[in-house]
């Protein structure tokens, strides 16, 4: 019977993409419980609604997080459009979906590289990030930026994608499919990867529901939950949508769900490109949100369901803008998954919730 020691993990740690502190109560290499602590990157961005009007705030919303940048700008714009009752043209909705799904491809490939780094497979990490560069080149050609795009505005989008750029999209995505399948194969069938991920950090179906988890984290425990099933806004143009689910509930299942979601996202992009209608890309927006008007919106970001709430107060500044990001919901699930695991598996489990702490704390 060993003695309990408390090991501090983070906020500076080579495996963590973002600053998160965990106090691991450890007994002989087994973690008994983990207590998370965040607050290292709180920038008070929600208070900036008081000094930036609702058109300028979209640039603040984008910069909450580097990976979820497009998701936040799109979610914010959709929420303010609901608040003011603006209907945007169909082409703008479809362009937003194309960029958002490409953002999902980028985020999952980036995550797979980080996961490979977490269990020490560095060459796989490098290959994943090499593929990611092709996706970033696509973003740069169509939006002008690699990470922060500034391409969404309240009322539509700022830029159009020309037909030859659309062809370039399809060419690049087909080009990375071949190499991506090889990487996917490595993740899912390689013996050393399986040793590190199968059976690690198990969360059952009932626990997943009780912890109110969201995103690929919960889909890997067999729960059929994906905001894209609601077919909001641009997603209504899809023929059918079935989320990727895996009932196994451990780290291997989470890797598998994300790996397969990349292929699903590429299919969605190609479907949207085929269905793209010509038309306007933005409508002019006049006036201010009404005093006391409220609106809420949900969006399936790469990390999970993100909830947005806006309230107007009659002036051009919003009274309140709230972005509830998926990682803040998953923190409870992470602490449950960490209880009872080996100390060496803490890296992998923390990474499989795809932590985006800068989104959590804004």
């Amino acid at each position: 019977m060993g003695k309990a020691t408390v090991i501090p993990f983070g906020p500076q740690h080579p495996v963590l993409p973002e600053p998160l502190h965990l106090d691991l109560v450890v007994e002989d290499e087994k973690v008994i419980e983990a207590i998370p602590q965040i607050g290292f990157i709180h920038r008070g961005l929600e208070k900036l609604v008081e000094t930036r009007d609702y058109n300028q705030f979209i640039y603040v919303a984008e910069r909450i997080c580097g990976i979820c940048a497009f998701g936040h700008s799109m979610g914010y714009a959709e929420t303010v459009e609901r608040l003011m009752g603006i209907e945007i043209p169909d082409r703008a909705k479809m362009l937003r979906v194309i960029w958002h799904e490409l953002s999902r491809v980028h985020s999952h490939i980036l995550w797979m590289g980080l996961a490979a780094d977490a269990f020490g497979f560095e060459s796989l990490f490098m290959h994943c990030w090499r593929l990611r560069e092709r996706v970033l080149d696509l973003f740069e050609a169509t939006t002008g930026g690699r990470v922060i795009f500034s391409v969404v505005r309240v009322g539509g989008v700022n830029r159009d994608i020309s037909d030859e750029q659309l062809k370039q999209f399809v060419d690049v995505l087909d080009g990375i499919k071949g190499e991506y399948k090889e990487i996917c194969d490595t993740f899912l069938t390689d013996r050393s990867v399986k040793n590190r991920t199968v059976g690690v950090g198990y969360i059952s179906y009932d626990d997943a529901l009780a912890m109110s988890m969201v995103g690929p984290f919960v889909r890997a425990s067999g729960v059929k939950q994906d905001v894209r099933m609601l077919r909001n806004d641009g997603y209504a143009f899809l023929d059918g949508f079935e989320p990727v689910i895996d009932p196994q509930g451990d780290c291997y299942a989470r890797v598998k769900v994300r790996a397969l979601e990349v292929l699903q996202a590429i299919d969605i992009i190609e479907e949207m490109i085929r269905k793209l209608v010509p038309g306007e890309i933005a409508v002019p927006v006049k006036g201010n949100p009404a005093d006391g008007a409220e609106a809420c919106n949900v969006l399936e970001q790469p990390r999970g369901e993100c909830y947005y709430y806006a309230r107007g107060n009659g002036t051009k500044n919003l009274a309140r803008m709230r972005m509830r990001t998926p990682t803040s919901q998953n923190l409870a699930g992470m602490t449950t998954a960490l209880a009872g695991c080996d100390l060496a598996d803490v890296n992998m489990i923390v990474l499989t919730i795809d932590p985006c702490i800068s989104c959590t704390e804004r």
Binding site: K47, N232, N317
Partner: protein, 228 residues
């Protein structure tokens, strides 16, 4: 099959009961947020099932009120309850993982309830413009039909950029001066009320322009009167 959102109100005593009922019916907890308003803090709980989101708001919570925690039913709420305590000063009892105010460990206590002086000035200006608009509409309803067109214009001006509004007001004032003296007097009174809500520098400029125009118009009327 799109998203449906409902906004409903409840009292502070209903928080636990609401959470228990939703959990029993299989609803999912989405989030907990606070908004700082003039009448206290609004705390909102959101639950979601299939395509319906229900947002239950408890209005007017003060810093002395103690709210019950829902981490007994939904553990994931501990993040938001600690955040509400740190940023807004809302007291919540029995949080499952309670950081006691050290969750964000901020340098300033309850920063979201602090209103900076520029924000206060902006809100007061907006309130004045809204009051002036309401007063105009009342006058238009009771006064002559010709004044109705004026009231519409005033209402539009209340929402415009101050520079443009000043120019339009100056043009409108010039037009009003050409009309009957009584109407000119009422326009002047309305303008004075609007100038009260404007930037003092701009207000001084507009006032100077008005005085100059008034002097010119008065001189013109005198010469016209003498001419006739």
């Amino acid at each position: 099959m799109a998203l449906e959102a409902k906004f409903m109100e409840m009292g502070a005593g209903d928080i636990l009961r609401c959470a228990q009922e939703h959990k029993a019916a299989g609803w999912r907890f989405v989030q907990l947020l606070c908004t700082n308003t003039d009448d206290g803090i609004d705390v909102q709980y959101s639950y979601m099932k299939d395509q319906l989101i229900e947002n239950w708001t408890v209005k007017g919570v003060s810093k002395e009120d103690h709210l019950p925690s829902i981490t007994g039913e939904f553990l994931a709420a501990f993040v938001f309850e600690n955040e509400s305590h740190d940023l807004f000063g809302v007291q919540i009892d029995n949080i499952a993982i309670d950081f006691g105010g050290r969750f964000y460990d901020l340098a300033m206590a309850e920063p979201m309830t602090v209103i900076s002086p520029e924000q206060k000035a902006a809100r007061e200006k907006a309130a004045k413009i809204a009051a002036a608009k309401a007063a105009k509409e009342q006058q238009a309803a009771a006064g002559a039909p010709a004044a109705g067109a004026d009231a519409d214009l005033e209402a539009k001006l209340a929402g415009m950029d101050p520079e443009k509004a000043a120019k339009v007001r100056a043009a409108m004032a010039a037009k009003a001066k050409k009309d009957v003296a009584g109407k000119a007097a009422s326009a002047d009174a309305e303008l004075e009320a609007k100038l009260a809500g404007m930037d003092p520098e701009k207000a001084a400029k507009v006032r100077a322009a008005m005085e100059a125009k008034k002097a010119r118009a008065a001189a013109q009327q005198e010469t016209e009167g003498k001419g006739e």
